[in-house]
């Protein structure tokens, strides 16, 4: 069976969930070969094997952390040469898309970004994309070269499928461009202990209606009662009430959880672009005419300062 390269997104050896989803999708079109780069690359092998990687190609070098994007492109290109895969899959993060794009260009291949589903087709893998703020669904494929496809988080359920996961050292020689953009400083983001926004099964978001940074505590309390991640609209972020890393929408994160709860958010097209593919959508808004209500499975017209704390209490009571 044809091999499929899967780029591994990990932090010091801890593999992030979207990569495990990619391994599941990769098995529909071939045998997954994972590529793990940088500090802790070798530590990823066990979990990758458990999820179907027949082989794990690893390479550790300081360049991956010290320079932007290009060293990873060089490595994937080396992996492509070593394996001649039927496709290359990369998680759809901002960096993932840039890596995929440069790789595609070098391979003389087309690129598809932000696939939400993937299946085998007669002429290669067929990707489903959700476009125009999720108002259209398209089917596309790469018609030249090795398909390079980036896949959004939450596009497939993670399935265990134990495989050999044989670790092999990848040999990489860095290109002249590799050291072009130096990372001169790095401030890691502090962990809140809550799930990662793009990976969470439930997202609780607050918008302009939350009316102040301090009031986000009630949004957080609801999120914590559900084990959810916290999101925010751009209006709330621009007002300085919540960090930009939590922004949901076109210029923030795109989320696709099982449940999305929008509080004090009107539902502008740019916000919808980032959450419209959520399975179940719930909104609390005092304006019965707010466009968000066109999307909801369940909506409460009311003041979030009454509804949200009451909901949190009720959830706590029910959970005992």
């Amino acid at each position: 069976m044809a091999e499929v390269l899967v780029y591994v997104d990990h932090v010091d050896g801890a593999v992030r969930k979207p990569t495990l989803e990619l391994l599941t999708l990769a098995r529909r079109i071939g045998e997954p070969v994972a590529v793990a780069l940088g500090n802790g690359a070798g530590d990823t092998a066990a979990v990758l094997a458990e999820h179907g990687a027949v082989k794990v190609l690893t390479h550790e070098a300081a360049e991956y952390a010290d320079y932007l994007v290009v060293p990873k492109v060089d490595a994937l290109q080396a992996a492509h040469e070593a394996v001649s895969p039927a496709a290359v899959l990369v998680p759809s993060s901002a960096e993932g898309k840039e890596i995929a794009a440069r790789l595609a260009l070098r391979l003389g291949s087309g690129i598809i970004t932000d696939a939400v589903d993937l299946e085998a087709g007669d002429e290669g893998p067929v990707a489903t994309q959700s476009v125009f703020a999720a108002s259209f669904t398209t089917k596309s494929r790469v018609s030249k070269g090795t398909p390079v496809i980036t896949v959004k988080p939450n596009s497939a359920a993670v399935e265990a499928a134990p495989a050999a996961g044989a670790v092999e050292a990848l040999s990489v020689s860095f290109s002249a461009q590799a050291t072009g953009t130096k990372v001169t400083g790095r401030t890691p983001r502090e962990s809140t202990g809550r799930p990662e926004l793009t990976e969470a099964a439930i997202v609780v978001s607050g918008g302009r209606g939350v009316n102040g940074a301090e009031n986000f505590a009630i949004i957080e309390a609801l999120a914590d009662s559900l084990g959810a991640a916290v999101g925010a609209s751009r209006a709330a972020v621009d007002a300085g009430w919540y960090p930009h890393t939590n922004q949901v929408g076109q210029t923030g994160k795109s989320v696709s959880p099982q449940l999305y709860i929008a509080n004090g958010i009107s539902g502008a097209i740019q916000h919808r672009a980032g959450m419209q593919t959520s399975k179940t959508i719930v909104a609390v808004n005092k304006d019965a005419e707010a466009p968000i209500f066109d999307l909801v499975d369940y909506g409460v017209v009311g003041d979030l300062f009454d509804v949200v704390p009451a909901l949190t209490e009720e959830i706590k009571t029910r959970k005992g």
Binding site: A94, K97, G180, G299
Partner: protein, 262 residues
């Protein structure tokens, strides 16, 4: 010293309009108003600020690849304060994908001459967020992308990239390709004076032959990707909407419990 900045700007269908596909599965541009992609206004703004903070002579050229109407996007950028514009227009470009678009842009950027290319973080229609990286790869220069802060001094570009796991400080020598996010600073509104001045600024039109490109290299024919189908997402079935009369929170909890979220 002088600094030549090329800002790539895209003309896109208005996101608040009713966007859809034409019969050939390309974006239908006839039925929806077009405009300068809002995220490219941030790129124009940063070019203007780099110019304002520089002791050098800075020349800002805005560049678009798009149909006839795309001139509107150039006019808007010129009225914000850019110096001149280049419009690459050719019927054969219709339906070009990201790989092809980056080819046309890279050829035009090389022909125009540049020290710095500034792009938006993503277009508001394709929203791929890949063109700046593709341009850096094609031009063989550093990519300093997704910046929420950018500055240029002594032939070096510096910036801050706020990623998922960390916030990074980046640095590269010119020439380079930069892209900026909507966190980089509000874009200015064109002044009346700016709008009047824009009418007199030069707009050059280039076609494929000006860029030594063949029709087969671009358009639907040259595309590296094929769209096989596009379907409108079925409208969501109308949800239950209740008015809070003291029980809203409890009712919502009941719904969530019914859906097994609690």
């Amino acid at each position: 010293m002088s600094l030549r900045i090329v800002v790539t700007v895209k003309y896109v269908p208005d996101a608040t309009g009713d966007r859809h596909f034409a019969d050939d599965l390309t974006v239908d541009r006839d039925d929806v108003d077009g405009l300068l992609s809002e995220l490219d206004e941030y790129a124009v703004e940063q070019a203007l600020q780099i110019s304002e903070n520089s002791d050098d002579d800075v020349e800002i050229t805005v560049l678009t690849v798009g149909p006839e109407d795309a001139k509107d996007a150039l006019r808007k950028a010129l009225s914000m304060g850019a110096d001149k514009a280049i419009h690459v227009e050719d019927d054969d470009i219709h339906g070009t994908d990201a790989i092809g678009t980056s080819l046309v842009l890279a050829k035009a950027i090389e022909k125009a001459g540049y020290d710095l290319v500034i792009s938006g973080m993503a277009s508001t229609d394709g929203t791929m967020g890949v063109v700046p990286a593709l341009l850096a790869e094609r031009l063989g220069v550093p990519q300093v992308t997704l910046l929420s802060e950018v500055s240029v001094e002594d032939g070096t570009v510096k910036g801050r990239r706020d990623g998922d796991a960390a916030s990074e400080s980046l640095e590269a020598s010119l020439p380079a390709v930069v892209s900026v996010t909507d966190q980089s600073g509000e874009a200015r509104y064109p002044s009346f004076k700016g709008i009047m001045a824009a009418k007199k600024k030069p707009v050059e039109s280039w076609d494929l032959s000006d860029l030594d490109l063949e029709a087969e290299e671009v358009g639907l024919e040259g595309a590296y990707t094929t769209v096989d189908g596009a379907a409108e997402r079925p409208a969501r079935t109308a949800g239950t909407i209740v008015k809070d009369e003291g029980e809203g929170g409890k009712q919502l909890a009941e719904f969530l419990a019914g859906q097994k979220f609690i």
